[in-house]
């Protein structure tokens, strides 16, 4: 199992009526890899991530997440993953500690374990003073760090992050990526979508989606070399220009 890929997609497709949101994408993500899933708005990133996390049924192709079939083993998939959605995923009328304990609890963490973990987490985030503050009173960057930490609290093999750093300042983003690296170093596979091309450079490998298809796949260095561009940003603009959908 250790060498088996964390995620396998083979021709994964999702149609909504006559519109093909995700058009036969195929890729593999190795265990412990930080995989950047890039694409313009409307390229189909969120649809793909929703299929891989068991929120949306695919209409074609195959996929395995942590060795589980996304069609027939949805609940097993869910037990193996953490997920931080684009939309805000914490309860803003609960405190930091209550949110941590709630999400940890529904993943089946035992009481003593939960208590210890939430204590450690609050300490690591340096939020002892805010532990009993409502989420709504905290700045966005802090909330996103908490949301990420909550998503990996139950020690999933894979964590899916859907635009985790949207709307926060560069310093907080950098800190957020430190958290991601920390988890990756522990062997957690990170599947992350982002708009920020500088973040793409932090990934082990990236894919770029245009109009539901994957147009480029490889390490940032390979991709830049292969397309003869200086940055992932230039490559993105080059590829996305061919796209019909979205506003990039």
């Amino acid at each position: 199992m250790t060498s088996a890929p964390a995620i396998i997609c083979q021709g994964l497709t999702r149609k909504f009526g006559s519109f093909t949101a995700v058009d036969s994408i195929s890729f593999e993500v190795a265990q412990g890899e930080v995989f950047g899933f890039l694409g313009a708005n409307g390229a189909g990133k969120t649809t793909a991530i929703r299929m891989l996390t068991g929120l949306l049924q695919p209409t074609g192709g195959q996929a395995w997440v942590a060795g589980h079939d996304v069609y027939s083993e949805v609940e097993a998939v869910k037990r193996s993953i953490g997920y931080m959605s684009q939309r805000f995923s914490l309860y803003d009328d609960l405190t930091v500690r209550e949110n941590i304990e709630f999400y940890g609890g529904i993943y089946g963490l035992r009481k003593t374990e939960l208590h210890q973990k939430s204590g450690d987490l609050i300490e690591r985030l340096d939020m002892e003073a805010e532990a009993n503050s409502m989420i709504r009173s905290l700045p966005l960057g802090w909330r996103q760090k908490i949301a990420f930490s909550v998503a990996v609290l139950h020690e999933p093999a894979i964590v899916f992050l859907d635009e985790p750093t949207g709307g926060v300042d560069p310093i907080t983003r950098r800190q957020f990526w430190d958290l991601i690296y920390e988890k990756a170093a522990q062997g957690v596979t990170v599947f992350v979508t982002t708009h920020y091309m500088d973040e793409a450079e932090y990934c082990d490998r990236v894919s770029i989606m245009v109009d539901g298809r994957i147009e480029a796949l490889g390490s940032p260095a390979e991709l830049k070399k292969g397309h003869g561009v200086d940055s992932i940003n230039d490559l993105f603009v080059l590829l996305a220009r061919g796209g019909k959908r979205g506003d990039a």
């Binding site: 929120l55 049924q57 609890g105 529904i106 993943y107 089946g108």
Partner: protein, 364 residues
Amino acid sequence: MRIIAIILRKEFRQIFRNRAMLPILFVLPVIQLLVLSYAATFEVRETPLVVIDQDRSETSRALIARLDASLYFQIGEQTTSMEEAERALLFGEVDMVMTIPSGLERDLGAGQPVIVQVVLDAEDGATAGIVQSYATQIINQVNADISLGPPGIRIAPSHWYNPNLEYTTFMVPGILVLLVTIIGTFLSAMNVVREKEIGTIEQLNVTPIKRYQFVVAKLLPFWIIGMAELGVGLVIAKIVFSVPMVGSLWLVFALAGLYLLVMLGLGLWISTLTDTQQQAMFVAWFLMVIFILLSGLFTPIDSMPRWAQIVTEFNPIAHFIEIMRRILLKGAGFQDVTRQTAALAIQAVLMLTLAVRQYQKRTG
């Protein structure tokens, strides 16, 4: 079980932390019960009227005195002008104009029949009918007093289950049902939709929470609150309105528990069909207004058209109001409400099945 307990704890925290929600849960229902029970009355009392007395005799004055002395009428300014009386009727200052013809006393003395004209504001036909029957009663009494003829058939009325004809005795059990209903349906509908609106439902759906765990944990708080509210309502009904409670209160609570399952199921179902709290509110209102108007709370189901009576069979509110009135006022036991109980049980199973099936963790 542990998962359910964890979600429950979160739900209760959120409910009791919401400062806008607490008054809605506990203060508004009490106010509604107090205000509605007193105000939503069909009793007709102190109807203002004008008497045009063209006879001005002892008999006519006796008739007027009788009217004035009754609780049902209140005589305003006297006038002799029909035009003035008509204007008062038009502007709603009075609801009835009674014209006593001249020669009343003389003709009665001579054994001749006399016609007293009563003009009613029949904008609201039901009320006009009641006013007319009160006027007739009083005139009959006056008749009996002065009549020397043979006695006719008399009625000896006996009002069972509500001997003093207290309107609140009839209304309060029904209004209690509404309170429990509103808590059950609206709050459960709003609650799940709210998770959709803020996006946390997505987060819950990627966790291994099972559907039944989610549904139980979402509905149980409102079931408990609904039952507590019923308890408070019954205390108020007893203390403030002296509503008789003849039957078993255990039975009332047991059937209320069943009834709440129907309404919570309905609320959850609404929340699965809608995406925003506004939509959920609108759908819930639409259904509530129909259910309440056809529930027999204000108007007897027996006098509804046939089709409406059939529709009422599917109306949980109607069944539960009937159950409450029967148990509380008539002392009915379980065997007397089996039909309504069976209807509620079927509806609970249907509603919850529908809601749970509709609530999908994954969209297809």
